[in-house]
Symmetry: C2
Subunit: 214 residues, 2 copies
Amino acid sequence: MTTLYGYFRSSAAYRVRIALNLKGLAYDQVPVNLVKGEQKSDDFRTHNPQGLVPVLETDDGAQLTQSLAICEYLEERHPEPPLLPADAEGRARVRSLAQLVACEIHPLNNLKVLKYLVHELKLDDEAKLAWYRHWIAEGFTALEARLASESASGAFCHGDSPTLADVCLVPQVFNAERFECDLSAYPTLRRITERCRALDAFAKAAPGEQPDAG
Amino acid sequence: MTTLYGYFRSSAAYRVRIALNLKGLAYDQVPVNLVKGEQKSDDFRTHNPQGLVPVLETDDGAQLTQSLAICEYLEERHPEPPLLPADAEGRARVRSLAQLVACEIHPLNNLKVLKYLVHELKLDDEAKLAWYRHWIAEGFTALEARLASESASGAFCHGDSPTLADVCLVPQVFNAERFECDLSAYPTLRRITERCRALDAFAKAAPGEQPDAG
């Protein structure tokens, strides 16, 4: 059985849930409460010594980490339906959109960084929120410009079926909404996100639908 | 002709140079001076509206962005020598090591983030350096633990030939050295980095060897 160690509000775990659902794969979930620090427990570290979610335990017993690496693994093991287009340039485009979120927005706004801002740099709530919104605005402006102008965009980020780019976009929009970022300047991101959310695979992966949702 | 728009000290451009060299591919280089802000020029934005390096212009005229997406494209178009192992679990391992650098260390320490710390948060040099070194230490501790304990490690991060993981590791070590981080606690990272640096593909990609090196 495939088991996902995650947390309902973790963007990275959310991406893996969407990918598993799009592939139609069944999986067990083991919640790891990041706010309570369960990811640092000796028990969880037997799954990932780094103390981070998500971890995907495959039916062969392998423990996979890093959400995009997990998604690529799922794509290779379960090619249908594809999360990447067939042509090399299209694949590069989808990966670059996914990485725009995963390498430029999300790393700056995750829990451990926000904790550093508060505990080490002594930022107040307002400065912390300004940091969060700054990186959302910078990244979403770039993403909106690409999605609105590039001819390969469609009903989804790339064409008319969901790809790895949508898998990354939707959790990032969820987080931006949670931090009450103004998303009015990103109509294409909002249109694509709504389209994704109408699909079962995305809807069932939403944080509020998870067993550990508070 | 393949053209790389980069900057000698950009980690992400450095990764792409290594990958191109490992594949034995010829390429022209167009330097984009990040310190002078040339990446924000109208001219450069015709290559990447986001104003970031690297951009790889392929011989078909496609403009590819995001260093890991570019490396995956090179891997698909030019499979030999491979930068990813043949088995899905090995590929997931190599990608997860690469992403540990590219999604957890590098995004926190790049130029635009350091500028925000100084200009918006008014950090002094000492606090900026402490930030830099904190994320290096956290990431390298995790990477060292994995590389030292996992049986798939070899002369390089994965087995006895260079992979995408080494392509990401070496530029990050270069940057850590530039910021005078103490690397004594990471003997496996240092051993693998030295092994990589002895290869022409890595040596010729080093910042000091580039046409725009100061």
